[in-house]
């Protein structure tokens, strides 16, 4: 996954979290796509999945707090997108455990996560930046 500066929204905390998400998903995909046997990579995959479950929630909460702070009008819609993604991650993690840590489910999860994250950061979150810039409330003056 390639981070691009056009993804920056101008809020240091959120931008750092986005970059960390990109790094983690990149690591996840690289491990998953390596030619190693599944048994050799399953621990690293599980570790990253656990991290994602926690970090995604933290990031979404911070992002929603910022939207609240600037009076972002589409906060509820954005929260719904976040909640749907959290539910998807939880459902996949449960199915993954119940099915005995199978690789094909993780491959599908990673493919969707890759596309979802790029769209979310490149499109959905840019609307927050656009709103903040229009209202001149980015909170990024210091």
């Amino acid at each position: 996954m390639i981070w691009k500066d056009k993804y920056l929204i101008g809020v240091p905390l959120i931008d750092e979290q986005h970059q960390e998400l990109f790094r983690r998903v990149t690591d996840f995909v690289e491990v998953l796509r390596s030619r190693d046997e599944w048994e050799q990579k399953v621990d690293k995959v599980n570790e990253t999945l656990e991290f994602m479950k926690v970090y995604v929630v933290t990031h979404f909460e911070d992002e929603e707090a910022y939207q609240r702070e600037i009076g972002y009008p589409d906060l509820e819609k954005h929260k719904e997108i976040h909640n749907n993604m959290i539910q998807y991650v939880v459902n996949v993690a449960e199915a993954y455990e119940q099915e005995g840590f199978k690789e094909d489910l993780m491959q599908r999860f990673a493919g969707k996560l890759l596309a979802w994250l790029i769209n979310h950061v490149a499109a959905s979150d840019q609307k927050i930046a656009d709103f903040a810039n229009r209202k001149d409330v980015s909170g990024n003056d210091e």
Partner: protein, 156 residues
Amino acid sequence: MTNKMLAPFSNATREVFKLMLDLDVVTETPEVIDTIVGPNDKLNISIKVVGDLSGEIFYRFPKETTLEMVKIMSGMEFDQIDDFVTSAMGEIANIISGNALIGLSEQEVTCDILPPQIIVGENGADTQEGNILSTTVRTQIGDVDLDIILHSSVDK
């Protein structure tokens, strides 16, 4: 079936290709056709639409285009269409269709979409018949076929 219905989908396709892949696209003038003959060797993704309009949207990606799109997103090489690739492409079709519904809602048409269905390789896709609005989205990494079969579900 009118070109008015196509506009939200072609606009959404253009925006998503630009934002996610940094690719400019040109959408050909659409034509209404009766039949799409299947199977084919492309990655076929269908998304069912329910609500004021009901029907199905078909996205058909050539293999090389598919692999290049996933390479652009991931920065990694892919040589076959596997679970990872189909899932990433299904999400792209989902994103385009979801954005198109926002465009339709501006025409006071309210719809929802169902999760993408993916058919690839020798199984191809079933032959589709009906009033099909068909166009080609041209990109520098290949052409994507977009076929729309939508019918009004309500009397307006």
